[in-house]
Symmetry: C2
Subunit: 502 residues, 2 copies
């Protein structure tokens, strides 16, 4: 009775989804609401729930159902919910089962120890304090890689956790082309800093008034107060606790409006993906984004391609003037558009603009591969980092805190994660070309504050599919082609030509 086995699988996966969403709530609460002294009890709750989810995801019961469901899967079309659910579950089950519990535990333990060491090392700006932890993390990640034999290279196994089905070789080719195209563009920007003035967003912006501004225009972009919230978190994120329970977070800088303004548009882009899964995927592991890069393509499409466009500023300028008249009544739409597109090579990834951002990522992608492959010793990482910062961005790294120690990811055990950010930019530009081909006048509607056409296009072509297909397949589905850096290069070159001159 394959139908009975399928129903059982749906039931078991529904419960796991409930626990996953509960874990999401625990994390959201920890970042937004929890009183500081709640941290210790929360860590226990987190460990227990995460352990339980892992136990259920790897239970022999699921393995048996998956075996039993092979003919069922084959009898359904590949794109059906039924076949997709079995296929995706099998893929993840097999991957999880390969990793011994002891190694998983050791990885958690190592990142538990690495985190405070990273905090201390960053504070002291001394990479040597963090180096042994990175060394240990790399050892464990090599053990992790060794659990698999189906990947072409070590990095493939790491990347696959975030970009199912994506190959390092494919990403490397895209990034090499991107690096070679961006490096001279960034050099040009560096030499022409005086051409764009970003100071319009600097001033005095009380958080409560920033929030009022955001809540006035976010609904045009798709924010729905009945199924979303916006709160403050130190490291902003978006989290889907259900298709109709999406939590956005932001961070207010009272001296600079652009931080929360663009940060929130970015998270709202993530949020729309989480809110856009087809309801027949609800409460299954298919009600998730296809990959982190695809997730990031959505946040970056809204933040950069939409939010930093001229038509957007036709819409947004009167709103800024309404909420902050003393600041913006004398600032032109053109000045705001230019300020929103100021570019400048800088030290810190999370503060980087559209043009330089990808170079920060490519640097990390190259170094991570060298580290995992043993071509670069941890002791030589600092020097390699600083050299690449000079080569790609033309900046000198003054200290470790603003250099190799700036990101939390390695301490958290996230290797293979960084490329997803730049892939997001690449894919967002590919998608945007398709959108413009399908909806030639879409930008005109932005000027009127109308974004529904774009939202519906994205839901129809991307969001509703959730995780039914691999990252690679989903890119092809939504962009009509495989990963391609050319649309992004054309987009960013056009912007730089316009703002900084040819």
């Amino acid at each position: 009775m394959p139908e009975a086995a399928y129903d059982r699988l749906v039931h078991v996966l529904g419960q796991i989804t409930d626990l996953d969403r509960t874990l999401g709530l625990i994390e959201w609460d920890q970042q937004t609401m929890m009183p500081p002294r709640g941290a210790e009890a929360r860590a226990e709750q987190f460990a227990t729930l995460a352990g339980l989810i892992h136990e259920r995801n790897t239970s022999p019961e699921i393995g048996q159902m998956l075996d039993e469901l092979r003919p069922f899967e084959e009898s359904h079309p590949r794109e059906s919910v039924e076949a997709s659910l079995v296929r995706v579950t099998r893929r993840e089950y097999e991957k999880l089962r390969r990793v011994p519990v002891e190694l998983q535990t050791e990885l958690s333990r190592a990142s538990g120890l690495a985190f405070p060491a990273w905090v201390a090392a960053k504070k002291a700006s001394d990479f040597a304090l963090f180096a042994p932890h990175l060394e240990r993390m790399l050892e464990l990640k090599r053990e992790y890689v060794a659990c698999f034999d189906e990947f072409e290279c070590a990095y493939d196994a790491l990347l696959d956790d975030f970009e199912p089905g994506m190959k390092t070789s494919e990403v490397a080719a895209v990034f090499a082309r991107l690096r070679d195209a961006l490096t001279p563009l960034v050099a040009r920007i560096r030499e022409r800093q005086d051409r764009v003035d970003g100071s319009a967003f600097v001033g005095d912006f009380p958080a409560e008034r920033q929030r009022a501004l955001l809540l006035e225009f976010l609904p045009s972009l798709g924010y729905d107060a009945d199924s979303m919230r916006l709160d403050v978190a130190p490291h902003p994120f978006a989290s889907g606790l259900g298709i109709t329970d999406v939590r956005l977070t932001t961070r207010f800088d009272e001296r600079n409006l652009s931080s929360a303004f663009y940060g929130t548009i970015h998270e709202q882009g993530h949020g729309l993906y989480e809110a856009g899964f087809s309801s027949d995927l609800d409460r299954t592991p298919l009600a998730r984004a296809a990959s982190l890069a695809l997730h990031e393509s959505q946040s970056r499409l809204w933040e950069n391609i939409v939010g930093r466009s001229r038509p957007f500023w036709t819409f947004a300028t009167p709103l800024l003037r309404k909420h902050f008249p003393e600041q913006f009544s004398d600032v032109s739409e053109e000045a705001l558009f230019r300020a929103a597109n100021q570019m400048k090579p800088s030290l810190i990834r999370v503060e980087a603009d559209e043009a330089t951002y990808s170079l920060h990522i490519i640097l990390r992608f190259e170094l991570e591969q060298d580290l995992i492959n043993g071509n670069l010793a941890v002791n030589d990482l600092l020097q390699a980092w600083n050299a690449k910062m000079r080569d790609y961005l033309g900046v000198e790294v003054p200290n470790d805190a603003q250099g190799v120690l700036q990101d939390i990811h390695w301490a958290d055990g996230y290797l293979g994660y960084f490329p997803t950010y730049a892939l997001g930019s690449v894919i967002s530009a590919q998608i945007w070309e398709r959108v413009k081909a399908d909806l030639p006048n879409v930008e005109d509607s932005f000027a009127k504050g109308e974004f529904v056409e774009l939202r519906e296009w994205l839901r129809e072509h991307l969001h509703r599919h959730g995780r039914k297909f691999t990252a690679k397949e989903t890119v092809e589905l939504v962009a009509g082609q495989s990963l391609d850096p050319e649309p992004f290069i054309a987009y960013i070159t056009g912007k730089i030509d316009e703002l900084y001159g040819r």
Copy 2:
């Protein structure tokens, strides 16, 4: 190796505690933060997690450990953490194991159906719409009672879920004495309504300014922003997600200050209990209040005995004048004290004052017993309710919504719960007599805004013990005597004599 079995028990119970606290977070979020359309996904998460907790609490593994640990338990002093943990776990395990999963499921299902029926019935003010659901709930509760053979009467089995070890006969004796003492007092109040004016708290009180007032004085009462939060919920409650993560909620009535003012002091009383468990009970099932009545004794002690006292108003009057000068600069301390103690027989339990409140409860306690014992048919409940309201409180019930349908408890499947509220008042007065004997000048310090002596007394004599002992034992421990209505009767009679005359 009994020590190894004990360690395993602690480990398993630690994980269950983590899941329990996670469930607490889910509920807290639902009441305070969740966007409305999150309800459906949340219900699934709740059901999955609650089912999992029940499964773990009743696992044969725990049964085996408990068997194995009998000699271990006997070799430790009764009041030790070790013996208490085994004893309390065994008590709850044996109770839970007696109830078939099918009955538990059916009870959940019945309350799931009863809740919307109750909402509709209350809206239509028509008890007949709810009656069949109450009938079904009673049937299931009788089945529940029949799972046990160690109780003297049916109601004992229900009461025991909320007041471990407490007997109906004992409560009935206390309530009969209370009813006979209160009924003439309430009649006296009813005839002398003009003697106390409660209008000082009526006016225009913006929620944000009420919140500022609360957050100024709550720290004196023990509120610690590093381990507590205060949020808004439609039905205020306090929830301990950890000893150092306690969530208080309140509700602001912008036309009446006393609602949030006393409501928050009440919840903070609950919160101090949750924050006061000894750290060696943390992450065990002993880090819970001994019973609901003991929990309520804390909220009522702070709300009523402390918060409505003259010395408290010496402290609070300048605070009210500071935050709402236009309202209170001409209102005397005496007027505020009197307004805070206005009493009036009324229809709605949750709006009742200290004197009349217990009569609302006694009415429900008597009716619940008659219902479960089959001495009162559901069809006759409406009439019985209205007759008792007339007898005890002297009020005529104008409609079902303001009468028998006012409370959610029966729809939620909570039978045997109501008495805990009035027992809380009774116990709070017993505790207060002990406090005054130990700390003769404690009230003088209230006038100065100092409550630390009282807090520490409560922690030392009650809070730190958590759930180590039964409700009955804990009352004896903290009050030095068994349940006794006389201190409450003396306290409330004194207040009525003073405010309404002898």
